[in-house]
């Protein structure tokens, strides 16, 4: 992959509101052309960070650089970035055309050029037919497209999106996810989105920064974030996780021997030595339900009693408990129509590949 240059550089940024530190020494580099996501629970500082890039919040300390230029003292109306707000903030008293053209009008663009660029932007979001309509005649999804066109018509270096899909219904949300990715590829600029929905982030972004309480916990690609979370918080936040307390018990041939409390001992491939108490975590979809007598085949297997099975159409969520009282959840795809033959109260065996075990030292 080519070395892409850094378009946004946040360096040790801090933002305090009175006694509350919303952004706590955050440093992030975003590459040109990337689809970058800021992900985290409510109150983690992701929106504040986005607003600092846009210029609506001034950092208490630290720097924000856009295209290698320090943005200190640069007002939001003079920055080469544009934002799509969570409420879309489409101007209610202007037509769609005037809305999209507003950014060009206030910077004294000639009328002919405005017309050209507005129709071009509307074409990008398939809203040309709505140019003469007023926002109160549009649906939520249509208003969002207007907000998108309005920002993109300015040809910014970076497009910032604050929770772009949170106000849409589930079906529209998935369609918009794909559309945004396609749009980004078409326009070719950097997109930075803020979201609390990990599904969104995982499916759309090239890289994700997970934030908690104003600090960056991990920055990685969706696959790396999901399969190799570096901390318990990230592991828990992204997707579901089975977590067990354990203890390291030896290290040989790049493989850590771990005693899992109440379950037994297994060897997990691990790059370095570890000692003492730690946690191991396994994703529910990595679990397999073994029928009695079925060959273990190298899986780490545990006898359980099934407590509850939640049917979700394409998959079933199995909640079971071991002899030692530990809870295990497994997500089993319903591969055939009568695949799930077990029921609550049955005895079963759950197993997983040791290589799919995550070792969390922290």
């Amino acid at each position: 992959m080519n070395e892409r240059r850094t378009i946004i550089s946040v360096r040790d940024a801090v933002k305090r509101f009175g006694g509350v530190t919303a952004v706590d020494h955050v440093s992030i580099d975003i590459a040109e052309g990337e689809f970058f996501a800021l992900l985290g629970p409510s109150g983690c500082g992701k929106t504040t960070l986005l607003r600092m890039i846009a210029g609506f919040e001034v950092p208490s300390s630290g720097q924000v650089l856009i295209d290698s230029q320090d943005m200190a003292d640069v007002a939001p109306n003079r920055r080469p970035v544009n934002m799509v707000f969570q409420s879309y903030a489409v101007f209610p008293h202007m037509t769609v055309f005037d809305n999209v053209g507003y950014g060009l009008k206030v910077t004294s663009t000639p009328k002919i050029e405005i017309r050209e660029r507005v129709m071009e932007a509307l074409a990008l979001v398939q809203m040309e037919a709505f140019a003469a309509r007023k926002p109160d005649q549009l649906s939520g999804g249509q208003r969002q497209r207007v907000a998108l066109a309005r920002a993109l018509v300015k040809r910014p270096k970076v497009l910032l999106l604050d929770e772009p899909l949170s106000a849409l219904d589930a079906k529209l949300r998935e369609a918009m996810q794909l559309e945004l990715v396609k749009l980004q590829a078409t326009v070719g600029i950097t997109f930075v989105i803020v979201t609390h929905d990990q599904d969104e982030a995982l499916s759309m972004a090239d890289r994700i920064a997970v934030l908690e309480n104003g600090r960056v916990r991990q920055i990685a690609s969706p696959v790396d974030l999901y399969e190799y979370p570096c901390s318990r918080f990230v592991a828990d936040f992204i997707g579901k996780m089975n977590v067990f307390e354990a203890r390291a018990n030896g290290f040989a041939n790049d493989s850590l021997t771990i005693d899992v409390d109440g379950l037994g001992s297994l060897n997990v491939p691990h790059p370095e030595r570890a000692a003492g108490a730690l946690s191991v975590a396994v994703r529910p979809e990595k679990m397999r339900l073994l029928t009695p007598g079925e060959d273990r085949d190298g899986l780490f297997a545990v006898p359980v009693t099934i407590r509850n099975i939640a049917y979700h159409g394409s998959e079933s969520h199995v909640f079971a408990v071991t002899e030692s009282g530990l809870e295990v959840s497994a997500t089993i795809p319903n591969r055939s129509r009568d695949h799930m033959r077990l029921a609550a109260g049955d005895a079963a065996t759950i197993g997983w590949r040791p290589a799919d075990t995550l070792v969390l030292v922290e």
Binding site: N77, M83, R150
Partner: protein, 278 residues
Amino acid sequence: MGMRRRRDGIGPLEYTRRAWMRLILLATFVFLYAPIVTLVAFSFNDSRRNIVWRGFTLEYYEKAFNNAGLIEAFVNSLTIAFFSTVVSTVLGALVALKLWRFRFPGKAPYEGAMTLPIVIPEICMGVAMLAFFSRIGWPSGLTWPFNLGAITIAHISFSFPFVAVVVRARLANFNREQEEAARDLGATEWQVFRDIMIPYMKPGLVAGALLAFTLSLDDFVITFFTSGPDTVTFPVKVYSMVRFSVTPEVNAASTILIAITLVLTTIALVLQNRRTTD
């Protein structure tokens, strides 16, 4: 209200459906509006003394329209109301914006001071104005319309807080992200104000202006203290007519004033209620 089904369906809190409540409400409305209704009704009375109803006529409306003093007073009222409205609306809007947007030391006392003219007894305000103008030696005997200056200033003083309240209510529902969006797109603060905020405030501004207009047009107490023999307004003229003789002409003049006020107030209310569609 048949007795077939014993109070079926009237909930414990539905007071307005109970007979005794309705009676009380009716009595209240009659008590409040009977004098006004009588006033309007008797403006059509064909009787000079206007004590007993004698017949329908528009004669006194004709007399009112031909009364030079009344017309002059009406023109004065309109002029004062016009200038008072313009200045009050601007001032009131600015106060509303300041209180909505900014935090500053002394904001609470400032807010209190701005609301003072609404709560202060009109008599106090009137006397204060009179004392003030004579103390600073406000020139008298100016030509029209400058001789209406004192009254206009007094009207502005008690009108702009009402405009401020109305505009502030409108601003309370404003989505600040629109302001930020405009900035983000490249607008300067002035452009944001002109292109986004003023269009949004418009219903509030119009409602506030209409309110200021009716307040000015109808005012008696404060105007009485600040007017002179050559600067008579409509309500003051009606008052002097009453002291002179109570013919239906007075009723006619009053009814005209009530009608104008009603129309303007209704328009103001309709406009204010339109804010829910934005």
